[in-house]
């Protein structure tokens, strides 16, 4: 019973600390000093650095979607709407979720290990001792960079996914190119684009803040850094999938 009590207390404390860190990180956006060089450096690392994995993931997701859809649709003689299904699946769901999961795998872990290493080597304490607020210098730039770059990466992923779907449709299913693109573009509505951009915006908060929180609460030397890194990826991925359900539910309720 005592162990359960301790676990519950630790969990509540962790949630409280996470929320406080998140509030501080967002509040820092409106308070000086602003570390713009750090923001740009993080945008380059998080955005440009994630481009190869996002492009690859997007392309092959679109390609396999087209393959699966066409197989199912061919039983109804409706392979002409393959582009439409690929487009809707990618823009509404798979683009934002898979891109965010890939970015979480690369960046939540990267952030957690970098900040965790700084924590165990007392660099964070040194920063505080030198009069710098680590939440301003380290957390807010990473949050801003992820919030700006993740929606852009999602758009790129959606586009390359459509190209992947087109490659499959054209070379393997032998669909007419204009048929693929026309059905895809006609299917797209404001609601889909809105959904597809709101999700990565929310997921960006999860990716950046979970990585920062896990990094800044690291203890226990290099072993602790490894533990924080793993926990950051797992927690960010689970939170992305769980919040995806609720965001979809809310958006559908609001738009309908």
């Amino acid at each position: 019973m005592g162990l359960l009590n301790d676990l519950a207390k630790n969990w509540v404390l962790a949630v409280q600390e996470f929320i406080l860190l998140s509030i501080r990180a967002v509040r820092n956006i409106f308070r000086s000093p602003h570390y713009m060089t750090d923001v740009l450096r993080q945008m380059d690392f998080i955005g440009f650095g994630s481009l190869p994995i996002v492009v690859l993931t997007g392309f092959f997701t679109g390609a396999v979607l087209a393959l699966q859809m066409s197989k199912t649709l061919s039983t109804f003689g409706e392979t002409s709407i393959t582009g439409q299904l690929v487009m809707l699946s990618l823009v509404r769901e798979l683009g934002p979720v898979l891109t965010s999961l890939m970015v979480a795998g690369r960046n939540s872990s990267g952030i957690a290990s970098e900040l965790g290493s700084m924590m165990v080597s007392e660099q964070i304490d040194a920063m505080r001792a030198l009069g710098t607020d680590p939440s301003k210098k380290l957390v807010t730039p990473r949050l801003l960079a992820t919030v700006v770059m993740l929606p852009m990466l999602t758009i790129i992923s959606d586009f390359t996914g459509m190209l992947g779907g087109f490659a499959t449709s054209f070379f393997m299913i032998h669909l007419n190119p204009s048929q693929y693109w026309t059905s895809a573009l006609h299917a797209l509505e404001f609601e889909d684009i809105f959904q597809g951009l709101v999700k990565p915006f929310v997921f960006a908060f999860i990716v950046a803040l979970v990585g920062c929180y896990k990094g800044l609460t690291t203890h226990g030397g290099t072993e602790g850094v490894g533990r924080s890194t793993t926990q950051a990826v797992v927690l960010a991925s689970v939170l992305i999938l769980v919040s995806d359900f609720f965001i979809t539910k809310i958006i559908l309720a609001v738009l309908n």
Binding site: E122, A126, A129, L130, G131, T132
Partner: protein, 274 residues
Amino acid sequence: MATPATQATQDTIVEFDRVSLGFGGKPVLEEISFELKHGETKIILGATGSGKSVLLKLALGLLQPDSGRIWVLGQEISSLHEEELFPIRQRFGMVFQEGALFDSLTVGENVSYALERLGELGAEEAERRVREALRFVELEQAIEKFPSELSGGMRRRVAIARALVSEPEIMLYDSPTAGLDPITANRIVTLIIKRRDVSRVSSLLVTHRLQDAFELASFYYDPGQEKLLPVGTNGSRRETHTRFLVLREGEIAFHGRLEELVAARDPYLKKFLA
């Protein structure tokens, strides 16, 4: 009766008043009380895990005590928020145990980082002070190098330069010679003595190397000869303003001068000094 904010006298730089702190229900420091006077160097000795580094972090406001009060330069810091502590920390220089240099910055950038908070300094003046601080630790030639390119002793010396560059009123040294070879350790002790005697900076120094502690208490820096001399040189007894504080399992086991420490009859102290 004096208000808490003015309890410390002008001469007292840091004061701990019955300070206790524990982690996960385990006490680390219990009812610690002492004062650091202006120009004084307090050497904190103790076995590993006796709370020496925690004490330094409390003085800097990096940790908050569970109970008791801490005054720094006449201001009570134990109940201040992080942002209220930044102006007070600007008056400190701290050398961390492993240096704690920022990996992504060069030596020059690491040292000048401490000057960023002094916004009024121009770029030329900042560079002059960075070079001067690096010259003090004899590492001016390493200004463009990254910490990963330096040895452990060099990293520690850069950390000293970073702590000194903003000319702080209080220096905190956390095991500055731990894990270093005798020559490098001696060089660092010389730098600390030089700083103490040239600038009269108040210091808290944590160490478990007795030879360093004794050297600090029994040598002074002579600017004329540019070297360390024993306090008894020329028949005159120099005051090094150095006191010892020995911690035993989170409590103060001894507080006083070197002579008193050496003459102490306490079995723990005898064992510790053996």
